[in-house]
Subunit: 418 residues, 2 copies
């Protein structure tokens, strides 16, 4: 193992020991374990002579000033879901710490180097993910998006932020703070959180971008009826229409998926609710969510159109009505071509190949794409899951991903100093 | 309108006025409005010189002794669901009251005539329907079936019974009480509660029997995964398997249905629950209920076998496991051929036709079938719904159904006095 990888992994293990219980990592943003995490990270920065700084959205910044004020920003997040894993987010932040550590040991770097621990990437407590990075990107409207949020214990989001010295007003200052950092590029190392690299037996992957997302709720409305009294041909069974829609969406995703990881798309019905939800009642209403993702905006638009059509066909067949409500959407966010070249070269140097894949999950990097040239590297997940304590990456893959990332950082510095 | 029908309808309206609020009928068994209902019914019996009697299961009996102690029992139920209609159950009890009223006016009848208001047919408060009639039939095990039941307010079933002078011990005496009544036949008039007679524009129907029921819960178990990270071909989506199963069950019911109301069968997935039920999570588990009904026991057995097979096929296709849990079942309960003949003749005399149909919903009559010759008549529901305040039957259909029922009673008396 490369000694720099070994240092990153040692830090990861130290943090895991500090913040994990028998159910997994508990670094949920805005809570006590998260504050412990950040005290630990502050000490880590101070040990290398870097004074941590918080912006108005509670993003934690560490900076090694360079000969140029132009900044290379390296980031990810230390927060986790409740019962999460040891790598999701932390890998990228602690790889960034290693970049700063090495730079401090070698004098003044040509570019200013910054590591950022984005606040509340997961949205685990209040449901709004990417809170910190979107505040920095200027795409978050705190009052409108956070003002009404309440956690399961009844605590308002605004009160939880206040416990951490943050308000909606201070959050609005994060975007100007970010612009003031003179960012030239953004790099992020993250675990894949899925089974794609594991399936093709690749330790490290080149991320092409984050998929665009179309997220909607559908409500099918028919007529509740007695399960014994209502003949099949007279029913208006809202659930059967929803069931047919879900299967059609799967077919749509299969039809639009290409043969390579790069060309895959997904569609998921994750929320299903029927009314009145009695054993003896034909469902009179059914609510179902659809979450469709693709890297190609035109493909995503086609999938969305076909899903609308499929919902109408299903509704008609089962004599029910359907109504769509848009929940959320984001366009595909494609990585910068120049930085992608550095990533490809670096991954190939370390592993011999440079497999490309889109990211289905969102990442803080998606918020950076519209602002600065951005790139991401994935480390293989094995098992190919995340948001669980069994999340893991084999040590050789971890080593390779860190090496490839550090090489990408070097190439990026060289590029921007020129 | 026939004057005897007019008396029954006047009683129905009087009871509705006494026990209905703006949300519908509120005669929920074991509660205060139900007790009001029964005080009213007691007075109605006393007005014609009949002393009401309660058995150990709180079934209320009124008797006009005949020259023979052999009894014709006429029954249904005065209890309703919360927010129910004015006819469901009451129609049959008050038609029985009319039989007793006429008999009292005409001296001593050849057979003993009894009307029964079965207790808690609906099971609306504790979930166990047909409580009173199954106690009389000896098919209820009160401790095992009622002992653990609690209503939404936390009141135990045993305590609610005690408020009405009933215990599990007294309930067990109801079967001997019933046998002591020397029952020769059982007749019940009820609204259809469905749209079949309305669709074929028939005011009155001949009930062939109550359908057998196979009721099960299925649990499909796959693997929860991130909606963005998990490629379609590697998913184990438990909901898609459940959706495919539900659509297959509809196909099974269509395949086994004949062209006439008599030959129809039904299958319903009324309860659906997915886990973890997040917009961004591929469902790792899905629970779904299936309730299948048919009048022909062999057809029901075939439907059940095909549904098991369909669940295995769906599970295999989506790489998940499926487990069945039996919730409840009852065999088809066929009406007595001799009494059916009387019903056919009576309905034809009044309406010119004698359309036959099975009952999908259960009725107290289903509990009587194994004990005594039993028959039922349906009055058209229009709209074809029940368990709602908009439940109704057009007055001409109500009149015709009561006339056909009274003629059936006369034919039955003549038959058994011979």
């Amino acid at each position: 193992m490369h000694p720099r990888s070994a240092r990153v992994i040692a830090d990861l293990r130290e943090l895991a020991a500090l913040t994990t219980d028998d159910r997994g990592a508990q670094r949920v943003a805005w809570g006590p374990v998260w504050r412990t995490t950040r005290s630990w990270f502050s000490r880590k920065l101070e040990e290398i002579g870097v004074r941590p700084e918080l912006d108005g959205a509670a993003n934690m910044w560490g900076t090694v000033p360079g000969r140029s004020s132009r900044s290379l920003v390296i980031g990810s997040h230390l927060d986790s879901v409740p019962g999460g894993g040891w790598l999701d987010g932390c890998l990228g932040v602690l790889a960034g710490l290693e970049v700063l550590r090495e730079a401090r040991a070698n004098g003044v770097p040509p570019l200013t180097l910054r590591v950022v621990d984005w606040a509340d990437e997961e949205g685990a407590r209040f449901g709004r993910s990417l809170a910190g990075s979107s505040a920095s990107a200027g795409t978050l409207d705190p009052d409108a998006e956070l003002g009404h949020l309440v956690d399961r214990g009844g605590v308002r989001c605004g009160d939880a932020l206040a416990e951490n010295g943050v308000s909606f007003d201070t959050m609005r200052t994060a975007a100007a703070y970010f612009r003031g950092l003179n960012p030239a590029a953004y790099l992020e190392l993250h675990i894949e959180q899925g089974p794609v690299l594991e399936e093709i037996q690749e330790p490290v992957g080149v991320v092409l971008g984050t998929m665009g997302v179309e997220r909607h709720m559908l409500r099918f409305v028919g007529q509740a009826a007695h399960s014994g009294a209502a003949p099949i041909h007279l029913r208006k069974d809202a659930f059967l229409a929803a069931a047919e829609f879900a299967l059609a969406c799967r077919d749509i995703s299969v039809r639009h998926s290409g043969p390579t990881p790069k060309s895959r798309v997904v569609a998921t019905c994750g929320v299903v609710k029927v009314e009145p939800n009695f054993v003896t009642a034909v469902p009179g209403a059914a609510e179902i969510s659809i979450d469709m993702r693709a890297l190609d905006a035109r493909v995503l638009a086609a999938m969305y159109a076909e899903a609308r059509e499929a919902s109408e066909v299903a509704a008609k067949r089962h004599l029910v009505e359907v109504k769509w409500t848009r929940v959320w959407d984001i366009p595909p966010r494609l990585m910068d071509e120049t930085l992608l070249g550095f990533v490809r070269d670096s991954v190939r140097e370390v592993t011999g190949r440079a497999p490309e894949l889109p990211s289905g999950p969102l990442h803080d990097a998606a918020e950076m794409v519209p602002l600065v040239p951005t790139a991401m590297i994935f480390a293989q997940s094995s098992p190919g899951v995340s948001h669980t304590k069994i999340e893991d990456t084999p040590e050789p893959a971890l080593d390779a991903s860190i090496q490839a990332f550090l090489r990408t950082v070097d190439r990026t510095i060289t590029h921007f100093e020129g």
